[in-house]
Symmetry: C2
């Protein structure tokens, strides 16, 4: 698998953005978060872990993007297809890039309208006092969902990267049977699983959630604890590992010894629900349709605390849309999605199952190796 993208792919992304910007009377798009900046530049670094420095990308309604970034990023940004890289020495106690950003925006916007992503799942990654200073200099408006619309549909190269990440995770899940044992702590299993993901080819493992317990677990977001696995437990591992900046996001449930029949039947129900979701995932269906196809099989009671039955996937662990009754986003060819039904077993305990797919003409393509049953570790 080759890393990166051609300059042409980035140029096409910009062109599509600019068509939508023109239609919405937007003079410039201002982007401040890792996935948005990377989408148009290919600027890939884990350095966003550091909250110290703001990073800005300006997409004018015509012409190439302009990067307004701390000088620590200059060498890496210069290695991308971006020509216009404006830097300042950050951190700066008095003006951490906001002056340079405002100058740049005033240079490129004639109508003074600068759009930012402002809908669900977004935020502006800069200090609020700087947002206020910015809004005194330019007219901040909504991007009208342009970034969501663009990022939601993946190119073939993007899909290849996600498929590759999924294959790495499928391999890693396949190895769990070989090391996970009754008596190990959650954190021992977690560490071993992350190592296995890396050995299978992951660049990094930003996300592992675990569940452990007889007949299920109480949530799917808890970190590993030092509690030991017991015979009869269900062990759930959910991974968002990355390859070349793209995530997979799916899980597996393992039974440590024979599972409680209620857990086994709940899991079988989730497999059926996932299959129903897959079948419903065709061009022109809506996110809500996929939700209903799965909910028809699982019901949508207590387990709906998770809030949804799946979501988009790509440069972030979760992306638009959401499989809920109210999301009427139409499915388009090239959308990468997770099918993630959940179900209550007993007393508030749940099981969650998750697979990854991409919408194609005709049937959706499976990106993860769909599980057919719960594996039993003896």
């Amino acid at each position: 698998m080759q890393r990166g993208f051609s300059d042409l792919e980035f140029a096409n992304r910009v062109k599509l953005a600019q068509i939508l910007m023109e239609k919405n009377d937007i003079g410039a798009l201002l982007l401040t978060t890792e996935p948005d900046v990377r989408y148009f530049t290919g600027f890939l670094t884990q350095f966003w872990q550091s909250p110290t420095r703001p990073w800005f990308l300006v997409i004018p309604v015509s012409g190439k993007p302009i990067a307004v970034i701390p000088s620590i990023g200059q060498a890496l940004m210069n290695a991308t297809w971006i020509d216009d890289v404006r830097t300042w020495s950050s951190p700066d106690m008095f003006d951490d890039g906001i002056g340079l950003l405002i100058d740049t925006l005033l240079e490129v916007v004639s109508n003074g309208k600068v759009a930012v992503p402002d809908g669900a799942e977004t935020h502006i990654r800069m200090p609020y006092s700087d947002v206020q200073r910015l809004s005194n200099s330019v007219l901040i408006s909504s991007d009208m969902g342009i970034m969501r619309e663009l990022r939601m549909v993946k190119s073939d190269i993007e899909i290849n990267k996600i498929r590759y990440a999924c294959q790495i995770a499928s391999d890693a899940f396949g190895a769990v049977k070989g090391f996970a044992k009754v008596g190990m702590t959650q954190s021992e299993i977690n560490r071993q699983f992350q190592s296995t993901c890396l050995n299978s080819g992951a660049d990094s493992v930003p996300y592992v959630a675990m569940g452990l317990g007889a007949c299920g677990y109480f949530d799917v977001i808890s970190p590993a604890t030092d509690i030991r696995a017991q015979t009869g437990d269900i062990l759930m591992l959910d991974t968002g590992l990355m390859w070349d900046g793209y995530f997979c996001d799916f899980d597996r449930n393992f039974a440590l010894g024979n599972p409680d029949p209620r857990a086994a039947s709940a899991h079988a129900c989730l497999i059926d629900a996932t299959a129903a979701g897959l079948e419903a995932a065709v061009v022109g269906a809506t996110a809500a349709d996929i939700f209903h196809a799965m909910a028809k099989i699982t019901g949508s009671g207590k387990a709906m605390e998770a809030g949804r039955f799946g979501h988009g996937l790509g440069t972030q662990l979760t992306e638009w849309p959401s499989f809920i009754a109210d999301d009427h986003t139409e499915l388009l060819e090239g959308m990468v999605l997770t099918l993630e039904p959940s179900i209550e077993t007993i007393n508030g305990r749940i099981l969650v199952h998750e697979e990854n797919i991409v919408i194609r003409k005709g049937s959706a393509e499976k990106l993860s190796d769909f599980a057919t049953e719960m594996e039993i570790i003896r």
Copy 2:
């Protein structure tokens, strides 16, 4: 090492915040980011990787914090010391928690003043359209640096966790000599290093930066590539691994075969600069003093593209303050810091060296095993 904190530690943090809030006439603090929410609750999860859902914590000027969070987090938040956990089913297409948040704020603030962290290194993690809706209902003001002031000084328990993370990284760096070889790609070395961190006890490895090249590298934020290590290269590995929610952040440079004399002398200079930084790191000195102590030895030319010679460290890879000439933050007992001088070798190539310390009465305590020379891998 024991995970977590006592309820008393959280209660003390809240009490200190409330004293500062009262002094600044703040009715409630509104927190929206992972480290700030965790600081007062202990709510620890990698689920913040998902941008979908906003999470809110309200600290009233008296009484316990109130969590306003998606129902998917209820089980985990209920396991903390927080009593008042208000949830909604997220994602919600029409009101993703903002209504519940406003109701909660209006209930607890009598003066209508809600403070948010708004200075350097902060952002408000919610959609901008929701920030605007919020600011139509309450008076948003600055937290006057309260969160920075509180988080900058660590308790003994926090320091123990960071020291433990540092020891894990020291062990992992010690093992690099055993596996890194000429001919391996950067990404092979990177993956093996991450595995080694996990095997040494890390919970996760959110950050690894690499440098590779004869006589140094061009930056310290680039991801691993598929370029192969050659004889004569300097290999730099910089890790932010985590244990129980706390980071270490330091690096090591390795020479693959005998290093170029210019690289060797540059590295020796960095070791000296780090020692000078350590000596200057006493209670009452300022961040600028530490910067000048190191810059006196390295100079502050090209390598200053990194922007600073070290920073705070804790629940985030980098925290306040910064070792720059303009940062006059006074060093207090319990501050955990990195000493991170950089220096140009040739033609824009640099070397960076980094160690972790904690400010104590008298001399600072080393948290990482300070390197004394560049290790040579033959």
